[in-house]
Amino acid sequence: MNTEKNIKTLIVKKPLKLDCGKTIKDFPIAYETYGSLNSKKDNAILVFHALTGDQFVTGINPVTNKEGWWSYTVGPDKAIDTNKYFVICSNVIGGCMGSYGPSHKDSDQKIFGTNFPVITINDMVNAQYNLLDHFGIDKLFSITGGSMGGMQVLQFISNFPNKSKTVIPIATTSSHSAQNIAFNELGRQAITADSNWKDGNYTSNETNPGKGLAVARMAAHITYLSKKGLQEKFGRKLQEREDLKFGFDADFQIESYLRYQGSVFVDRFDANSYLYITRAMDYFDLAKQFKGNLSEAFINTRAKFFIISFTSDWLYPTQENKDIVIALNSIGADVGFVEIVSDKGHDSFLLDVPDFLNALKNFLDKSYEEN
């Protein structure tokens, strides 16, 4: 799926016991960095990507030749200022941008497909923790990410309570809701219903279950936007035509837009990875790891938290973000919270939303000054 050049890889020698019971070792973690690590090694920010993201946070992604997924947020003089901070991001295990995943080969040189072990958010962060040793970083300045990235942020600070000074989960949840699982299942069903999926044993780009994956992406994409945002952008506008055509072609702009989103996604993403990563999200329930008490997940950390949600995000709504705030307050943790007004839905954290970018920048820069 990926072109190997341009991808930096750390081979993790240390065995990692996964939640499913299997142990993996000598596996690759693909990563990218931006900015430079200072001599005190106290300016590193570990960014976690969302479901379909990758390690190429900002600038031009050398594999897809498109802008990185967090280009509005990360870069010189931006909210996460790479003149100041050293940003590290790695592709999650189970992913398809160079980290150990279902498109890799097993010891018999056969592509894993669905023989790849089922991974969890916990497995993802435990794998990524190896990057700290790799860079000789004792303590990160911050960890951040939106959506599934936010889930990794929460899991990371729970697993490694002393390894980050500040913690910024964005537009996320501590537990995947029934609605979240339902949408993910819809995507998985679309993929597995594609006759090219072949129980996960497709072998090349030509024969991959692209149609199923495109439908999965289209359905998911709707959940990333708000009703108001969609209505304002598309309404009932027609696609390059004067009138309805009385057929099943894309009459409406929204149809054409979704079809396009589906088709470009297929070019850059592996269908089996989509199955694995959505499964990891569905299995995420941080409170359950602590007998139903979410506060216990954070009891050992002294880190400073800043939680951000968006008014029009109905996928990971404000209340689910506030539940994390409440869990932190109930143990007297240092936690700030703001809900940003935006019509751009869950995707707000990826877009040019000035109130969000300002809040993030101010929190980071002020916290760093106090360092």
């Binding site: 307050n329 007297g332 919270f337 916290s367």
Partner: protein, 198 residues
């Protein structure tokens, strides 16, 4: 910084943990953090004000005191501060109870409706009083439950709330309110500051 905040700050010892309820732009928080090494948190309903606090490096939670105080455990702060906001809640009694549950002590300030200028305004002009501490018109004021220093004094007594200190503020003058001078202070102070505990 306004005199009220200076008086509040003087009531708080160094190195304490304080929650500022309705912290606005964080002026008091910043002062306490800088000058008294206070571990300070804020709760603020306005998104714009929350942003201002973040820009000052302050830890603030966007929220509503009537709904969001309940997430804090009992006596989790040494002091909880509520400046000139009690009268703006739908249920001030409930908020006061919550302040005293969350804080070991609470500092509550009250714009005094018994202040002579307020009384004069209503008596002679016949319109709703507008003063420095009560700047809004009747139709756009956030205040729902105005009270006087005397009202508040009697109210806390009736609830068996202990008053450690009660101060009357008139411009830059601060004086102690007691049972014996209550009538006078109620006439000449435009702000009452109460340090209380339950």
């Amino acid at each position: 910084m306004k005199n009220e905040f200076q008086v509040i700050a003087d009531l708080i010892e160094k190195d304490k943990k304080v929650l500022d309820v309705g912290c606005a732009d964080g002026t008091l928080m910043k002062f306490l953090k800088k000058n008294k090494n206070i571990n300070i948190r804020g709760l603020e309903i306005s998104k714009e004000k929350v942003q201002e606090c973040i820009a000052k490096g302050l830890t603030v939670i966007e929220g509503n005191a009537e709904k969001d105080l309940k997430q804090f455990p009992d006596k989790s702060f040494d002091y909880v501060v509520l400046s000139q906001t009690l009268q703006a809640f739908l249920n001030p009694e409930l908020v006061l109870d919550e302040l005293l549950r969350v804080g070991k002590k609470a500092i509550v300030t009250i714009p005094n409706f018994g202040y002579w200028k307020v009384r004069f305004h209503l008596l002679f002009k016949g319109t709703m009083p507008i003063t420095k501490t009560l700047p809004d018109e009747w139709y756009n004021t956030p205040n729902l439950h105005m009270c006087t220093i005397k009202d508040f004094f009697h109210f806390v007594k009736s609830k068996d709330i202990k008053i450690f200190k009660s101060l009357a503020l008139n411009n830059l003058n601060t004086s102690i309110i007691s049972e014996s001078n209550l009538g006078v202070k109620n006439l000449f102070a435009d702000l009452g500051i109460f340090l209380i505990e339950k």
